[in-house]
């Protein structure tokens, strides 16, 4: 079975600063994908960034980047120049296991201080 652990239930950052959200995972698969999804209050989950496990280069999407350490099974999300609109729950997820759906962590609640 796959597991995803997000050890930070809540993080707070000043607007315009940088914050890193942690995620570790466990899987016996060699081919898998890792995701960060954002769930704003009362709104739909949306994809923030995606990483293919066989690609060594870390994915980036504008202000969002990941630090993917495959050997350590770590997949952290860095948000640069934090904005008020970044406030949300962030879920780390993995695909590629026995089930075809994603396995998510418990989430990190990100607070942006103006």
């Amino acid at each position: 079975a796959q597991t995803v652990t997000q050890s930070q239930p809540e993080m707070s950052v000043q607007e315009a600063e940088t914050v890193t959200l942690s995620c570790t995972y466990d899987t016996s698969e060699s081919d898998y994908y890792l995701f960060w999804y954002k769930q704003p209050p009362s709104r739909q989950m949306i994809l923030v960034i995606r990483q293919e496990a066989y690609k060594q280069q870390n994915a980036t999407e504008n202000r969002f980047s990941v630090n993917f350490q495959k050997a350590a099974k770590s997949f952290s999300l860095k948000i640069s120049d934090s904005q008020l609109g970044d406030a949300a729950m962030y879920f780390c997820g993995i695909s590629g296991g026995g089930a075809d759906g994603l396995t998510f962590g418990k989430g990190t609640h990100l607070i942006i201080q103006p």
Binding site: Y32, Y33, Q44, M45, L47, A99, D100, G101, K106
Partner: protein
């Protein structure tokens, strides 16, 4: 275009009642997923459809849960004889192909409260 929609958005059921939750995926999307999200938790996978075929139902918590997608588009998640532990937000997601790395597009969810 329109995103994934779900109805109803809120449902209150008395314990023992049957409920049906509807998901309208993005038109043309091959894959459809159902997740259950308990309060303060991440979504947990329930079941997966590729077109009309239910290929994985390993996450369904009991035989009271049943899902269908008869024409490969709209899907319904049915819960029979609801219990208090069924209270959660039920999320539907779709993706354009059957590839595991595809982005999943989520609906707003149906919040089920069993009293």
């Amino acid at each position: 275009g329109a995103g994934v929609s779900q109805s109803p958005r809120y449902k209150v059921a008395k314990r023992g009642q049957d409920v049906a939750l509807r998901c309208d995926p993005i038109s043309g999307h091959v894959s459809l997923f159902w997740y259950q999200q308990a309060l303060g938790q991440g979504p947990e996978f329930l079941t997966y459809f590729q077109n009309e075929a239910q290929l994985d139902k390993s996450g369904l918590p009991s035989d009271r849960f049943f899902a269908e997608r008869p024409e490969g588009s709209v899907s319904t998640l049915k819960i029979q004889r609801t219990q208090q532990e069924d209270s959660a937000v039920y999320l539907c997601a779709s993706s354009s192909t059957q590839l595991r790395g595809d982005e999943q597009y989520f609906g707003p969810g149906t919040r089920l409260t069993v009293t």
